[in-house]
């Protein structure tokens, strides 16, 4: 059974249909990339899977381990092992990174029936994970994302993912706007977390990311539908030909 199974997913925002029937199957341990032009619905797909209440699902199913995710609150999805790395990470003034992560880790542990994290052990775990993304330790005490640079925010997303160890990580344009050094760091963090027990869904606008994180499967999304799927070679072809090949009217 696939870890994530999406069947005929339709979703809209303010009455406008954005997702027009998505089918996707992601097995445990796999990395899939979704590419597509602006406005194709890539980010909407990420948010709908994570449960953003701003979107309305009008048809279809999203299953995690065979369980219907659409009936779960966003926090339940997270506790079931789902993680969404935001395209635009939100600033939370007044709540320090460490406290926030501890609350998140404890919420997940409680859901699994495990005891709360031991403060000292948790700090050790956090420090190890910071090194993965070469994040400065001073950022731990700072309020979540507040006053962070664009690159620091994206690193912080990967850092949070590394601490929370999800089964399914959906990374929404984590590479956008990163300089090459930051991209390498972020990619290193993701690659280090690849494992047979963990799956990734990478949403990206740029093929460049896939030079650093090599996907098992690439999907091309245009106008709310997945129009083609293939191996990493597809991404390279896309880089050369552009999306126009797949866009309406020119497909023939």
């Amino acid at each position: 059974m696939a870890l994530l199974e999406i069947r005929n997913l339709h979703a809209e925002v303010d009455g406008e249909e954005i997702l027009k029937g998505i089918d996707l199957s992601l097995d445990t341990g796999e990395v899939h990339a979704i590419m597509g032009p602006n406005g194709s619905g890539k980010s909407t797909l990420a948010k709908v899977i994570a449960g953003d209440p701003g979107y309305e699902v009008t048809d279809g199913e999203v299953l995690l381990d065979g369980n219907n995710v659409l009936e779960m609150e966003p926090e339940e999805r997270a506790r079931e092992g789902m993680f969404l790395g935001f395209q635009y990470p939100v600033e939370i003034p007044g709540v320090s990174n460490t406290y926030f992560l501890k609350a998140a880790a404890n919420a997940i542990r409680k859901h699994r029936g495990e005891p709360e994290v031991d403060a000292a052990q948790f700090l050790k775990h956090v420090r190890e994970r910071m090194q993965l993304v070469q994040m400065d330790e001073s950022l731990l005490k700072r309020p979540v994302n507040t006053g962070f640079s664009g690159g620091e925010k994206k690193r912080n997303e990967i850092f949070q993912m590394a601490v929370l160890e999800p089964r399914l990580a959906i990374l929404d344009e984590t590479d956008s706007g990163l300089d090459i050094d930051a991209l390498r760091t972020v990619s290193h963090g993701v690659n280090a977390l690849r494992s047979p027990e963990r799956s990734f869904l990478l949403i990206t606008h740029y093929q460049r990311l896939l030079n650093y994180i090599v996907p098992d499967t690439v999907h091309v999304m245009v106008d709310g539908r997945i129009v083609k799927s293939g191996d990493k070679q597809l991404a390279i072809e896309l880089e050369e030909s552009g999306y126009s090949l797949f866009e309406e009217g020119s497909a023939a």
Partner: protein, 443 residues
């Protein structure tokens, strides 16, 4: 003329004329008479009076509140909260009546003199005669006038030149469950001599269920280079009304740090007047109101730059829960000639429910030309993107809202210089929040 004669006397004037005045000095009686006349001439404000148009006085103006014949009994919870500030000089009023047993005026440090109002009134040419009701009473405020007319209980604090007592002075005002219909008129006079430095904490707390009125007035006179820290904490009962005044007059280079928190009460209004009368004086006013469902909270500030090179900072935040209402009305007035004024004012409100109503009225009156004045005001709800962000990390919606609300309000408590009071106020904030348990763990 005939109509004026025929006009009925207010119940308060009748009370005023009927009271025993034998023990009071003549100068005080004169000031009381003047105050009573001011009240009688203006009466209680209607909604047509600009400064009171948004204040929900409700039936406060119809009820006839009288001083308690004897203090009621404290509940166990109130008993536990008598002493909050560590190692403080303490005066306790219960239902507006001095409780000598619970007060602690022993061990006064050098340079600090704390007396009851009654004792200070007996001193010829003393600080009371020089200052009491000679500053605040310039303001046209009905409850201030009534306080001057009726106060019998209060505290007079004097700090001598250059003294910096480490002990804070904690004035505790408790209204008991037996205080229905009771009026409490506590009066505090604070005189800081040149270059003195000290901290005064005032707490007003009341039991639920009793419809009482407390109308405290605090008059602060800060001489040159004096540094006053003033904390004001209000958590009245759910039927209690609190209509208070803090009035500070600052001479040159004097500094005032005032911190007010409204944590509860059916209706709470505080008017904070600051007269920056000498060059280089500065004032910081920090305020936080947490307004529960069905309650009303109001902070009026009146900051007057009357001399050059003065600065003022006002930051007031509000959190409104359920169907509640708040007012922030803030004046910055810069007199002609008060050049190089540096004044800022900000009011930010967070509505936790669409039924909350927050009024925010900045008022700037600037008559000098070389000044820096800024103001800002916002009324908003929690950032839904931040709520969703937290939820995708496994934090429940309720907890996310609690944490974000805490973070918003806690900014006002974060750098409070008095740790014991900070803990106390933070606890009051947390107990109001959804997802209380998680927020507590985050600290």
């Amino acid at each position: 003329m005939m109509e004026a004669v025929a006009e009925p006397k207010s119940v308060y004037l009748q009370d005023f004329q009927a009271r025993d005045r034998s023990a009071e000095p003549a100068w005080w009686e004169t000031r009381r008479e003047a105050a009573m006349q001011r009240f009688e001439a203006a009466g209680f404000p209607t909604r047509k009076v600009e400064a009171w148009k948004q204040t929900r006085l409700g039936n406060v103006t119809q009820e006839h509140f009288r001083p308690a014949p004897a203090p009621g009994s404290l509940g166990g919870a109130a008993e536990q909260r008598l002493a909050v500030v560590d190692d403080a000089v303490r005066i306790v009023l219960v239902d507006g009546i001095l409780d000598t047993g619970r007060s602690d005026l022993e061990r006064l440090p050098d340079g600090l003199r704390v007396r009851t109002l009654a004792a200070a009134l007996q001193e010829d040419g003393g600080v009371a005669e020089q200052h009491l009701a000679r500053h605040a009473d310039a303001e046209p405020h009905p409850f201030l006038a009534l306080n001057t007319a009726f106060t019998t209980e209060g505290t007079v604090i004097e700090v001598t030149s250059g003294a910096a007592p480490e002990q804070a002075i904690e004035l505790v005002n408790i209204m008991t469950a037996d205080s229905a219909g009771v009026a409490s008129w506590p009066r505090v006079l604070i005189h800081g001599a040149t270059s003195s430095e000290f901290t005064v904490v005032q707490r007003h707390e009341g039991a639920d269920g009793a419809a009482y009125l407390t109308a405290p007035v605090t008059e602060v006179i800060a001489e040159a280079n004096c540094n006053v820290r003033l904390f004001h904490y209000v958590d009245e009962g759910d039927s209690g009304s609190h209509l208070g005044v803090i009035h500070a007059t600052l001479d040159r280079d004097a500094q005032l740090y005032a911190h007010a928190m409204h944590a509860g009460g059916q209706r709470v209004r505080n008017d904070i007047y600051v007269n920056l009368d000498g060059p280089g004086a500065s004032a910081t006013l920090n305020g936080l109101y947490l307004v529960h469902n069905g309650q009303f909270s109001d902070i009026h500030t009146w900051v007057r730059h009357n001399a050059d090179h003065c600065s003022s900072r006002q930051l007031v935040k509000g959190v409104l829960e359920g169907k509640s209402e708040s007012v922030f009305d803030g004046l910055i007035q810069v007199a002609k000639g008060a050049q190089k004024t540096d004044a800022e004012q900000e009011n930010r409100n967070l509505l936790l429910s669409p039924k909350g109503l927050a009024h925010s009225n900045p008022r700037l009156e600037i008559y000098a030309d070389d000044v820096k004045c800024g103001h800002g005001s916002t009324v908003g709800q929690l950032d839904e993107a931040a709520v969703f962000y937290m939820r995708t990390r496994g934090v429940s919606e309720e907890e996310a809202r609690g944490v974000l609300t805490f973070a918003f309000a806690n900014e006002m408590l974060d750098d409070m210089p008095l740790a014991s009071l900070q803990t106390y106020e933070r606890e009051a904030l947390i107990s109001l929040l959804p997802g209380e348990e998680t927020v507590r763990k985050l600290l």
